[in-house]
């Protein structure tokens, strides 16, 4: 099956073409607007937030995707597009483009949930190979700037959220701490980088909801604790070691909560696999500590993490999600999909 996938739910405009035959996959094209020198060709820089840029860049992204994939429209079996959750004005661009193509080419159109797609990114590594054999039920920790959730996957398509942040997403907390420390934007990678030279035990920041009897999170309090901690230490903000210690201690506070909740949920639901997903899953320390924790549990739970290029928003993950939807329900169900699919600002799994 060859799937053309389109993503435009928030900041990124992206398209990808994925071929899956039996248990083997091949990435035919994988284009994300902000990551390629496309904007040089088409003028202007791609800003961080620009809902309107989706309109300007969607066709160049598609053109690049189809050309690099060397795929003709006749070869494409289905089109997958994210229909939510996301910003209406952003979603509508990718979705209407996908609907137009589906209508003009007479292809099935598969609507894809953005958060589900982040989880299913774990099925592939590299450009080609075998789909990972993920044992179900599985638990996925989705961590990004906009989302922090724990999801229980009974199958690749039967997924439900079992816990979420009650205030800030963890990626947002990283970003705002970076801002307070003057580390610039985007802050997540900057905090993680400074943390490598710091002592994670230097400052005892709080671990909110660590012992709460559910799988919800809260990161707003850690952010505010950092704010209060540095408030009367302004001169020290120039001290590299001080910054490194704050970053390492803050990062560890976040990781402690993420790990504890994930492991507790894994036990409760008796899962066979633990997965990571979302932009913050690129954090090396989180990966390392989650991997170690899974090994230590010694319960045969398998641990998966997505390729770094698949952690932030992209269309390849949507192609995987579309593939599983089609495998589960059959492509016929999605024929004339262009008639029905609408953007869903709020979209439950």
């Amino acid at each position: 099956m060859i799937i053309l996938s389109i993503e435009s739910s928030c900041d990124e405009t992206a398209a990808a073409i994925l071929e899956i035959t039996g248990a083997r996959f091949r990435v035919r094209a994988h284009v994300v607007a902000s990551q390629i020198p496309l904007h040089k060709k088409y003028g202007g820089v791609v800003p961080e937030v620009a809902a309107r840029r989706h309109v300007e860049i969607i066709i160049p992204v598609l053109d690049e995707t189809l050309r690099t994939a060397r795929v003709k429209k006749a070869d494409i079996d289905a089109i997958a597009a994210v229909n939510g959750p996301g910003l209406n004005m952003a979603l509508i661009v990718g979705l209407e483009t996908a609907k137009t193509l589906a209508y003009a080419w007479g292809k099935p159109l598969i609507p894809v949930n953005h958060i589900k797609a982040h989880m299913l990114a774990n099925f592939i590594s590299g450009e080609q190979g075998r789909l990972h054999r993920i044992a179900f039920p599985a638990l996925c920790l989705v961590v990004s700037g906009g989302h922090t959730s724990l999801a229980l996957l009974k199958t690749p398509t039967n997924i439900r959220i079992v816990g979420s942040t009650l205030d800030d997403a963890v990626g947002e907390a990283f970003d705002k701490v970076a801002n307070m420390l003057g580390l610039g934007y985007p802050g997540g990678p900057a905090v993680a980088q400074r943390a490598t030279a710091g002592d994670p035990l230097a400052i005892a920041f709080p671990r909110p909801m660590l012992t709460s009897p559910n799988f919800n999170f809260s990161f707003s309090g850690i952010k505010t604790a950092v704010r209060y901690f540095i408030e009367d230490k302004k001169p020290q903000l120039k001290n590299k070691q001080f910054i490194a210690d704050v970053c390492a201690s803050f990062q560890q506070a976040c990781i402690d909560v993420l790990l504890a909740k994930t492991l507790a949920a894994a036990k409760k639901y008796n899962v066979k696999s633990i997965l990571l997903g979302g932009g913050v899953s690129a954090n090396k320390e989180l990966r390392k500590q989650m991997r170690n924790a899974c090994e230590k549990m010694n319960s045969g739970i398998q641990y998966f993490e997505p390729d770094i290029a698949m952690t932030t928003d992209n269309a390849l993950m949507g192609a995987i999600a579309g593939y599983f939807e089609a495998s589960e329900l059959g492509l016929e169900k999605f024929r004339n999909g262009w008639k029905k699919v609408r953007p869903q600002v709020v979209l439950d799994l």
């Binding site: 800003p47 937030v49 809902a51 906009g146 205030d167 800030d168 997403a169 947002e172 707003s220």
Partner: protein, 145 residues
């Protein structure tokens, strides 16, 4: 007339949010200003609770806009729209993300965090905007409205 409230404790902040909620009928725009961790999102959560929003209100910084339905069918307010200008370099982006669909709608209350980044754009809508400033000094928190 500006009013000053001491909201140093959660209890005081909750009471303030309930008071604001009682004054809303729909069509209002609340522009929130204040530094990181000043309590803007916390205030919005409590306001949402008082307006009978049943789902968890989370920070819109990254997703830019969240829309929450009001559960109480008798309320004249049908949804709370929660926006955030923190990540916006160009305030015009507020328009591109679809704020004009909601601003001034009589069945909608719009709450905008980091509104100081978009003062000009908000003025251009010509709708009455209620400014709420969140001030922090040591452990003392004050709101000015």
């Amino acid at each position: 007339m500006t009013m000053r409230w001491d909201v140093s404790t959660k209890r005081e902040m909750n009471a303030f949010a309930r008071e604001v909620a009682r004054s809303l009928h729909g069509g209002e725009v609340l522009a929130l200003e204040g530094t990181l961790g000043a309590g803007k999102t916390y205030f919005t959560q409590q306001l949402a609770k008082a307006l009978d929003v049943k789902t968890a209100v989370t920070s819109p910084t990254f997703v830019l806009m969240n829309i929450y339905p009001i559960a109480n069918k008798k309320s004249t307010i049908h949804q709370l729209v929660h926006l955030d200008c923190y990540r916006l370099d160009d305030p015009q982006e507020l328009i591109h993300i679809g704020i004009t669909d909601w601003i001034g709608r009589p069945d909608t209350v719009v709450v905008i965090e980091w509104a100081d980044k978009a003062r000009e754009v908000l003025k251009s809508f010509n709708k009455s905007t209620h400014l709420i400033k969140f001030l922090v000094s040591g452990s003392k928190r004050t709101v000015v409205m």
